[in-house]
């Protein structure tokens, strides 16, 4: 039976959370032992995981600054996780002080923490909602309060789509969100992929299994499947590319080999 909307989701901090694991990869301490244990296990297979996350963060930073440069100052970041440092609102509001940011996550701890971090920031808000139910996001108080859907929005789906299984129709959900956005809106996506990971396939699969075991399966998608999320958008140069290759600002020799993993891209709604 489907859980009624008003029935609360239970919180079990003995179960690892992908957002707290992510925080651990980034050197944060917003995590519990169960999260660290899972993270360490995954790192046994892929020691470079933190570098991928770092590259992911660096891309997001570049993409946000790109959006501001393009005149888009409204941000909807779905799957925002645990705010640590260099978050979207910090990057965006540094570039454009009036920028508005709505974070969305379905992890109640991440939501509670975001609420605490954003306290006092009138131009940022957090919504407890799930990418798989776009209408709940679009109709949320924070979105209504902070985002003008008649003007372009930068929709950030950073490191989240690879946690949505095909049975949950991720393409349909992304399209549903696209349809709610004004022309000129930007879609910012990063997605895990086995392509370009500098490891034997077996090692990658081991890391993927860790996520499967914590009931947050990680769906590695091929480039073409990631590209399909941009249906209805025109790709911005340089298109859908490895994380580090999207408008790089760092010399290649400074980049970790893992930074080539995963795909990043930005599209503009026609």
């Amino acid at each position: 039976m489907e859980r009624p909307a008003w029935a609360p989701r239970s919180i079990d901090i003995t179960v690892p959370s992908v957002s707290r694991i992510y925080d651990y990869y980034l050197g944060g301490s917003h995590n519990f032992e169960v999260d660290r244990e899972a993270a360490r296990k995954a790192m046994e297979f892929m020691p470079g995981l933190p570098k991928i996350m770092q590259a992911n963060r660096a891309f997001m930073r570049r993409a946000v600054r790109f959006a501001v440069a393009e005149g888009v100052t409204q941000f909807l970041d779905i799957g925002s996780g645990i705010p640590t440092f260099g978050n979207v609102h910090e990057v965006a509001q540094e570039a454009s002080p009036g920028a508005r940011v709505v974070y969305v996550d379905h992890d109640p701890v991440a939501v509670a923490h975001s609420g605490a971090v954003l306290k006092g920031n009138e131009n940022a808000g957090i919504v407890a909602a799930d990418l798989r139910r776009p209408q709940e996001i679009l109709r949320s108080d924070a979105v209504r309060r902070l985002i003008d859907l008649n003007r372009p929005v930068a929709l950030l789906l950073v490191a989240i789509l690879h946690f949505v299984e095909d049975t949950d129709d991720p393409y349909g959900k992304v399209a549903e969100l696209r349809d709610a956005l004004a022309p000129g809106s930007l879609l910012v996506v990063t997605h895990a992929s086995a392509d370009h990971i500098p490891l034997p396939q077996k090692r990658t699969e081991g890391a993927v299994d860790v996520y499967k075991n914590i009931r947050n399966p990680l769906i590695m998608r091929a480039r073409d499947d990631v590209a399909r999320f941009f249906e209805g958008y025109d790709m911005v140069e340089p298109g859908l590319v490895p994380l580090r290759d999207w408008r790089p600002e760092t010399a290649p020799e400074d980049e970790d080999p893992y930074a080539a993993s995963g795909y990043a891209g930005v599209g503009r709604k026609a």
């Binding site: 008003w6 029935a7 609360p8 989701r9 239970s10 919180i11 901090i13 707290r20 990869y25 980034l26 050197g27 944060g28 301490s29 917003h30 995590n31 519990f32 933190p50 996350m53 770092q54 963060r57 660096a58 997001m60 930073r61 645990i82 440092f85 260099g86 109640p108 701890v109 991440a110 939501v111 509670a112 923490h113 609420g115 605490a116 600002e249 760092t250 010399a251 400074d254 970790d256």
Partner: protein
């Protein structure tokens, strides 16, 4: 600030670049390396200043260690690499011209302080972040707890406020929780329900699958089931429910509880039973009604194998008279008493009694030996009716007529069986009642044909299926044709030509005799007029037309007759209306008045079939008749040779009597010349019969009359 090549500022920046290159790979920053390096430049400057400070400032060293944490270098490797950098390059790039040993000592001490500061800051940051995330978790849990509480409150409200009974039991059947509605349904206190085990709640009416479904559910093989189930309440009364039981599983999918939702259907069920009873039982007598009877009859007739059935169709004799004389209330009481007696006659398994309506009852038996049983049943019924019934202080004797149909199942439908029983009952009734008759296919067929004729009559008249034959009336004195009797025939599309005996009684019963009689009269009068025109001068040809008792009482008789005569232009004295003797028995003046009027106009009235009824000779003079038609039974006695002397005497006497009353005498059924001669000698005036001519088409009569005239 000046950055002259190899100047102090340039050397400071080079140190910062080396430092940044060393630790950038182990940071988690999202900044680019140049951006990161920019963040390190102020720290490098502070390091240089601390190196050159007059006194060693440990606090500044610690602050610089802590600053690493502020630029998100939380990996211990970044401290290690920082200290390596300081150790190797700080004095080299930032020592300027100071005393090398002292600077090295100072750099070394700075490293100690930085390490302590880094550790301290990392510890504080870690603790702070742990506290933050713990707070967030706690906060989220509180929110969930609140939501859970609200949700629980909602569920509790639904649970308690639901109009259906809800109970939760464990998989062993122990009841853990019930709502008030369920308690009310069971009419008990909590103790009587809670703490009990659902497996104790058996009921004799439990469908066979009830407990199988239950076992499947608690074993996890079934998610839910829906049944109708009865329960005993603590006070022994029965509670009927629509029961839905669902299996509740835990988060891992293991069966955990069973949830029962029950709707009290006791009232509805009672109402349904009552409605069903009312729909299938007669309100007055309480006997099964037509509907239920037909259900049973259907079933009996549909039974396979060599099953048989026996049916008694009972109609009370003279019930209408009782109803009319004592009133409907008394009639109803009588029916109730009869119903009770009938009920007592059919108590064996397979027997039933029903009231079809009015005073019609049926008894059905489907026992093993219906051939014998159905007769016995009819005997019992007649016997049960034989004792008088006391109503309003009167002893009423009730009799009944029974039609019995018995036979193998599977051959006839219920309607056919019931019709046969009905027909047979009428046979018993016309045989005098208070008896039973067995169905007979031939008798049924006759009745069915008669019924078919009756219903076909009206259309037959419209379609012109009737025609008239004429039998000549001959004057015995000279053998001349004086006229003819009009005899109506029906050319039936299936049955061929039918004589009046086949359909006139039916027409009388349905009232069709009036239009039919009028048509015959019109036709005959027109024919008589035609004859007269064709035989002008050879004496008038008259026509005799039969009047049925129904026509006699019809108010339009005189006016219709006058109209018909006038229209055809026939003199009234050319028409003779024949009325049977029996129709005039006990006739009062009102009935005779129209006949008298017609007689006064000149229409002859003949008394038909004279001598068959209770001929009231005294009455004869009172009747407006001018002709006696002697019944053929008298002439039959004269056919033999020598003629029956008694018959001769009677005919002689009647003729003499008639003539003394100034009545002419016509004899019917004359078949031989000897008869004709005898009758002539005895003084009869007119004769008809096969000796002269059979009934035939009008033209034949015309020919006979002409022959007569010329011969």
């Amino acid at each position: 600030m000046t950055t002259e090549p190899d100047g102090p500022e340039d050397r400071l920046r080079r140190f910062a670049a080396i430092w940044a290159r060393a630790i950038f790979p182990v940071t988690a920053t999202s900044l680019t390396r140049p951006e990161f390096e920019e963040q390190l430049v102020p720290l490098a400057r502070r390091l240089r200043d601390a190196l050159h400070a007059r006194a060693m400032n440990a606090a500044e060293g610690q602050a610089l260690g802590a600053a690493l944490i502020d630029v998100h270098c939380t990996d211990p490797e970044s401290l290690s690499r920082t200290l390596d950098c300081v150790d190797a390059y700080l004095v080299l790039y930032c020592g300027e011209d100071g005393p090398q040993d002292a600077l090295r000592t100072r750099a070394s001490r700075l490293q100690h302080a930085m390490a302590a500061g880094f550790a301290q800051a990392l510890r504080e940051r870690t603790l702070a972040e742990q506290e933050t995330i713990a707070h967030a978790a706690l906060h989220a849990q509180e929110a969930v707890a609140q939501a859970l509480h609200a949700s629980e409150a909602r569920f509790r409200a639904v649970f308690e406020g639901a109009a259906i009974g809800i109970s939760i039991a464990d998989l062993d059947g122990n009841i853990l929780e019930v709502n008030n509605t369920l308690l009310r349904m069971f009419g008990g206190t909590e103790q009587s329900v809670r703490g009990r085990n659902v497996k104790q709640w058996t009921h004799p009416e439990d469908a066979p699958q009830v407990w199988r479904l239950y076992e499947e559910l608690v074993q996890g093989d079934r998610e839910h089931y829906h049944i109708e189930k009865a329960y005993y309440r603590p006070d022994g009364t029965v509670l009927w429910t629509n029961l839905t039981v669902s299996l509740l599983r835990d988060a891992d999918g293991q069966p955990q509880y069973q949830l029962a939702l029950m709707e009290d259907t006791t009232e509805r069920r009672l109402l349904n039973l009552r409605l069903r009873y009312e729909a299938t039982h007669d309100a007055l007598t309480g006997l099964p009604n037509r509907t239920l009877f037909f259900e049973r009859l259907d079933k009996a007739l549909a039974a396979g194998g060599d099953a048989r059935f026996g049916l008694c169709y009972l109609d009370l004799d003279g019930f209408k008279a009782i109803n009319d004389s004592l009133g409907h209330a008394a009639g109803d009481r009588l029916l109730v008493e009869v119903a009770d007696r009938l009920q007592a006659c059919a108590t064996a398994p397979g027997e039933m009694v029903a009231r079809l309506g009015g005073d019609e009852f049926v008894a059905l038996t489907t026992g093993p030996d219906t051939q014998h049983e159905v007769d016995a049943l009819a005997d019992r019924i007649l016997n049960a009716l034989s004792a008088p019934i006391r109503i309003d202080g009167r002893e009423l004797t009730v009799r009944g007529s029974i039609g019995i149909v018995e036979g193998p199942a599977g051959e006839r439908g219920p309607a056919e069986v019931l019709r046969s029983a009905d027909i047979t009952m009428y046979r018993a009734k016309s045989a005098g009642g208070n008896r039973y008759e067995l169905a007979d296919p031939e008798a049924d067929a006759r009745v069915i044909t008669r019924h078919g004729l009756t219903t076909a009559l009206p259309a037959a008249l419209d379609r012109g299926e009737f025609f008239i034959e004429y039998q000549p009336l001959v004057k015995l004195g000279d053998g001349s044709v004086r006229g003819a009797e009009a005899l109506v025939r029906w050319l039936h599309p299936q049955h061929g030509v039918l004589g009046p005996d086949r359909f006139i009684p039916l027409a009388e019963r349905t009232g069709l005799i009036v239009p039919l009689g009028r048509w015959v009269l019109e036709e005959s009068v027109r024919q008589a007029r035609a004859w007269q025109q064709r035989t002008a001068g050879s004496g008038p040809l008259r026509v005799n037309v039969n009047l049925s008792p129904c026509q006699l009482t019809h108010p339009g008789l005189v006016s219709d007759t006058v109209e018909i005569l006038e229209e055809a232009g026939l003199e009234p004295d050319a028409l003779c209306l024949e009325v049977t003797e029996s129709a005039l028995i006990g006739a009062d003046d009102d009935l005779l008045k129209p006949l008298r009027r017609l007689a006064e106009m000149g229409v002859d009235i003949a008394l038909d079939d004279f001598g068959t009824g209770y001929s009231n000779l005294a009455n004869l003079r009172r009747l407006p008749v001018s002709v006696l038609k002697l019944d053929r039974s008298f002439t039959q006695g004269m056919q033999q040779f020598p003629a029956d002397p008694v018959d001769l005497k009677i005919v002689e006497g009647i003729v003499s009597l008639a003539h003394s009353l100034d009545l002419a005498v016509t004899v019917e059924g004359v078949e031989t010349g000897a008869q004709a001669e005898q009758l002539r000698l005895m003084g009869c005036d007119t004769a008809q019969g096969w000796y002269y001519a059979r009934p035939g088409p009008p033209d034949r009569l015309h020919e006979l009359a002409l022959m007569d005239a010329t011969g």
